[in-house]
Amino acid sequence: MDNKKNRKKGFFSRLVEGLDKARKGFTDRVDELIKYYREIDDDFFEELEEILITADVGVNTTMEIVDELREQVKEEKIGDAEKIRNLLKEKIIAILADEDDFEVKTPAVFLVVGVNGVGKTTTIGKLANLYKNQGKSVLMAAGDTFRAAAADQLKIWGERTGVQVISQMEGSDPAAVIFDAVQAARSRNVDVLLCDTAGRLHSKKNLMKELEKINRVLDREYPDAHKEVLLVLDATTGQNAVSQAKLFKETVGVTGIVLTKLDGTAKGGIIIAVKSELDVPIRFIGVGEQVDDLQAFVPEDFVDALFGDDK
């Protein structure tokens, strides 16, 4: 696959490359717009709205951002389109930014949740690689006992990264798998335990209950571990991501978000809406299929890349 060529490159250039396609349409249009409009009128703001909406930011959040921008422009009498563009960037960065740094204290346990097909298992494989490269000991738990061959998929990631996988038979109780994994992590003194879960639509009550149970098992059996509940969101997803984040947060207290599939043309703007409505920090982004295509989320880089200002 063509991604292989890029493997040697640094973090930033790969982030930029991953976001390149996403960025293109977006920035071209902003730049075009700024060139085109000398005067800052209603049409200008409407076009800004359109750009945000087509990036999946969502109508509500878009209106909020643009209305605020409009107000500020009026108050401070800004007449320069370029300045307004920077203001817009700042506003988005401010929404996405998070006060505290993401620090993993060991022993740590990660519960990775999300709807079907967002890339949970792949993200876990990448996380295993990340922490292993940091010199930590890692263990993975195949908590997706529902989807056919999900455990096999995780085991292949285990082979790739040299990390062991705790698994049981397909169809067994996922909470039992997690229980086993916690015992194993304890006895082996593992630094980071990564727990996979089956994809589930957030609107399915029984499946969310099952997840609640898994979460309870973690709290009960591994109270001394630093727990992170990561929600994996697909950048291709539209407004439903807000609903996903809301319900997963309610059920298992999501502590961070991983935004995957940012290497396509989808712009991932929905995280702006998710962050602004639910205030859950975005921790990682997935920008490709390779094992090291997982990056820490840096709002400035993300917005810069989105606006094409990274050099």
């Binding site: 696959m1 087509t54 056919a148 639509l201 997803t237 439903n240 396509g264």
Partner: protein
């Protein structure tokens, strides 16, 4: 979410617009703003929304307003018709080859649900009495072949695989195998890929050229956002898809992607994935999708009911009866039952054009009241229903006993029914009152 406020926003838009003969440009513009927001919130692509809004506005301006609707509702009615027309009226079948095997190729982005859908589709054909073969051409994702095998096992459908061989070769061999073994449906599962990954898109093209599938199905996640248009366009341009399978529709997404995909490709959505089980694949019903995307089910059902219930003939009949004081408790009962069909009372009141729902906040709308009223009327004899004046004390006692209510309840109903009759007599015509939305329920 934004969506919750939509109904009330629409109400306020409508309120300003009641009681005009034709849709003016301003009526349409106001209503279209809400429609635009609703569609965008549902993830319908921005450009698709813009085109739709333009088209609908043109059609709507100058239209006669149905007597029973407000101008705003009339616009929504047109929107719904247009959406339904765009989605396609009836469901489309899979193209079967005149000489088997029929070759079906599944394509789509990662995580859309191709492998699961391939299995479900196999199960669907198996139930139809066909003998399907699943082909594992996803050689990239870890354990994808294994996943298809497990799915095949669960459904007792054989799976053809050649490990990590060249997918084009696997597909070719699979077809030959199917011919030898008399399989009549071959379903090829391919690897998920980004539509902008040319190398992998070329691989799909090569598989297509090698096996000449009768049907290429694009599998699309119903939760996809604005990007659905790019995805559908790319796959369609490269491969010329024949249909779409919309997955994960059992969630709470409004599924605007369906509309976007249909609008840019013109290809029908043939199936919908509706759940976790391998039998959860349904034939796609375009008409139902339209109202889901629009997310105005309440308004739409009111419009439908208004059309069904208050059709001209019936209204005339009712009016005649009312005027000549022939409106009986039987008619009243019938009206009640119509109302009940429309849903909970508080919802119906909320739907009535011109009524401000916020003003009703304190009013206690008790659905059991309708049930009680019904019971009372049903406990009357035919004669009593035709001529309530004959209901004396002992009859009241019997009716109360029969309906499990009190004599006071019976009295209240008779009193309000008489008032209703009087009120109706005073009204010069029912039509106007309906149009203005000043419907009054006699309870």
């Amino acid at each position: 979410m934004a969506f919750e406020g939509l109904s009330s926003k629409l109400q306020s838009t409508f309120k300003k617009l009641t009681g005009k003969g034709k849709l003016s440009e301003k009526d349409v513009k106001n209503a279209m703003r809400e429609v635009r927001l609703a569609l965008l919130e549902a993830d319908v692509n921005f450009k698709v929304v813009r085109e739709l809004v333009k088209k609908i506005s043109e059609r709507a301006v100058g239209q006669e307003i149905m007597q029973s609707l407000t101008p705003g509702q009339q616009v929504i009615k047109i929107v719904n018709e247009e959406l339904t027309a765009l989605m396609g009226g009836t469901y489309s079948k899979i193209n079967l080859a005149p000489t088997p095997p029929t070759v079906i190729m599944m394509v789509g982005l990662q995580g859309a649900g191709k492998t699961t859908t391939a299995g479900k589709l196999g199960g669907y054909f198996k139930k139809e009495g066909k003998s399907p073969l699943l082909v594992a051409c996803d050689i990239y994702r870890p354990a994808a072949i294994r996943q298809l095998q497990v799915v095949g096992q669960q459904l007792s459908i054989p799976v053809f695989e050649m490990g990590k061989d060249d997918p084009v070769n696997i597909a070719k061999k699979a077809i030959a195998h199917a011919k030898d073994e008399d399989y009549d449906i071959v379903i090829i599962d391919t690897a998920g890929r980004l539509h902008i990954n040319e190398e992998l898109m070329d691989e799909l093209k090569n598989i297509q050229n090698a096996v000449n599938p009768h049907e290429i199905l694009l599998v699309v996640d119903a939760m996809t956002g604005q990007d659905a248009v790019n995805v559908a366009e790319s796959f369609n341009e490269k491969l010329g898809i024949d249909g779409v399978v919309l997955t994960k529709l059992d969630g709470d997404t409004r599924g605007g992607a369906a509309l976007s995909v249909k609008a840019v490709t013109g290809k029908p959505i043939k199936f919908a994935g509706m759940g976790e089980k391998l039998t959860d694949l349904e034939i796609f019903h375009p008409d139902r999708m339209a109202s889901r995307i629009l997310g105005m089910g309440d308004v739409l059902s009111l419009i439908e009911k208004a059309q069904a219930n208050i059709d001209a003939e019936k209204a005339m009949e009712l009016e005649k009866k009312l005027r000549s004081q022939q409106f009986t408790l039987d008619d009243f009962l019938e009206q009640l039952q119509q109302v009940k069909k429309m849903g909970p009372l508080s919802d119906i009141i909320g739907m009535i054009p011109g009524l401000n729902p916020s003003k009703l906040a304190g009013v206690d709308l008790d659905d059991r009241q309708i049930v009680r009223t019904e019971a009372i009327i049903q406990s009357m004899t035919k004669e009593e229903r035709q001529n309530p004046n004959i209901i004396n004390a002992s009859r009241r006692k019997r009716i109360a006993k029969g309906s499990g209510t009190t004599i006071q309840d019976v009295n209240r109903l008779l009193k309000s029914f008489n008032e209703f009759r009087k009120m109706m007599k005073k009204m010069s015509g029912m039509e106007k009152s309906i149009r203005r939305g000043r419907f009054k329920f006699p309870f």
